[in-house]
């Protein structure tokens, strides 16, 4: 099991240099050729509404489709699911007292799809099956960073006990510091971003001392998408080497 964590923020012009960082990720994927991707993301108002807003949702579908999100994006390619692995993860999570929502049908949004577009730019079909795990970053109270790390660690235990011989990649998505709404729109915090990048691999505990509210203060209202990264980090287990950063 390997780990690839990368971000999606190409809408902001200052992230152009970011695209130069992708080839090493592609090389790493070409080399390790994962079969399944466990992907932590947050839904951007495509699949979940406030009538039923889960803290954590785990997909267990045979296929995952993208759809019209209302603001002009192309519809991205569908994913094949891995229901057996999904249910194995779900059993572990509920056994570990995570009160997840299980989703046998779920539309996945651009925030999940674009990282795959970036990672596999020439793919006609995704070379990996998908197990999507959505984290609420939309509506307070959000799960704490500490809870998200624990969620990831429970997923890690599930992956460790999985008897299949698939190679499994763990993916975190979403932006680091950024804010779209309010008078502070446009806020970023390079210091906090560097702090996250410096600690995510070797010392994720440093990131989970903050409350979700602290993260908003430090990283902006949408900077809470770091919760996805923290959970993904947990799913990679204790030992981890950083192979690439951009």
């Amino acid at each position: 099991m390997g780990g690839a964590i990368f971000r999606q923020s190409q809408q902001e012009p200052y992230w152009k240099p970011f695209f130069d960082g992708l080839p090493p990720v592609r090389d790493w994927l070409a080399e390790t050729r994962p079969d399944v991707a466990v992907c932590f993301y947050n839904d951007h108002g495509l699949n979940f509404f406030l009538n039923k807003m889960p803290t954590f949702a785990v997909g267990a579908a045979a296929a995952y489709h993208n759809a019209d999100e209302g603001w002009g994006l192309p519809v991205f390619k569908s994913f094949e699911g891995h229901p057996e692995l999904s249910w194995h993860v779900i059993e572990q999570l509920v056994g570990d007292e995570f009160d997840i929502t299980t989703c046998q049908s779920i539309l996945v949004d651009h925030a999940l799809s674009i990282p795959f577009e970036l990672a596999y730019p020439d793919a006609d079909a995704w070379p990996v099956k998908l197990v999507p795990i959505a984290i609420n970053t939309v509506q307070f109270p959000l799960p704490s960073p500490k809870r998200c790390l624990a969620l990831g660690r429970s997923v890690h235990r599930a992956l460790q006990s999985w008897r299949g011989d698939e190679r499994i990649v763990v993916i975190g998505t979403g932006g680091l510091s950024h804010q779209l709404d309010g008078e502070r729109a446009g806020f970023i915090n390079p210091d906090y971003d560097r702090f996250c990048m410096d600690n995510l691999a070797a010392n994720p505990e440093a990131l989970v001392k903050d409350t979700a509210r602290d993260v908003v203060r430090l990283a902006g209202a949408q900077g809470v998408e770091i919760l996805n990264w923290i959970a993904a980090r947990g799913a990679l287990g204790e030992a981890m080497t950083e192979t690439h950063r951009n």
Partner: protein
């Protein structure tokens, strides 16, 4: 966050930022429901064809209606709108991320873009 110099762990308000909490979620439910409906192209067209009638269908409050009419993003947020759903309404209005950033900060779009670039450059230099 102990390792970060900007750390300030408190319940004090966050400048220029309103958390979308239960109070906002309750206040904005109908507005956000309308925005959520815009995932469907037919609903976007129905809104464009008859904005008032479409707002009626979702029983928007007077405050929500006024914010929709004036295309005012801060007003939409004050009326309980959530940015993840409002983005779909902004799309109908032809407003992109930079446009709504400029509108909310009272900058020109050019100035807002420059502010983003400045922050990014300062980051690149420090790196």
């Amino acid at each position: 966050m102990s390792g970060n110099p900007n750390s300030c762990s408190s319940e004090s308000p966050i400048p220029g930022t309103s958390l979308f909490d239960g109070r906002a979620a309750a206040k904005g439910y109908q507005l956000n429901a309308m925005c959520f409906s815009f995932n469907d192209a037919r609903n976007r067209q129905a809104f464009l064809d008859d904005e008032t009638g479409y707002c009626d269908r979702f029983a928007l409050t007077a405050e929500q209606r006024a914010a929709v009419e004036s295309r005012n993003v801060l007003g939409l947020i004050a009326a309980g709108g959530n940015i993840y759903y409002l983005a779909k309404l902004a799309g109908i209005f032809g407003l992109n991320v930079q446009d709504i950033g400029a509108q909310q900060t009272g900058m020109s779009v050019e100035a807002f873009k420059q502010m983003l670039l400045d922050q990014a450059c300062s980051k690149q230099q420090e790196n």
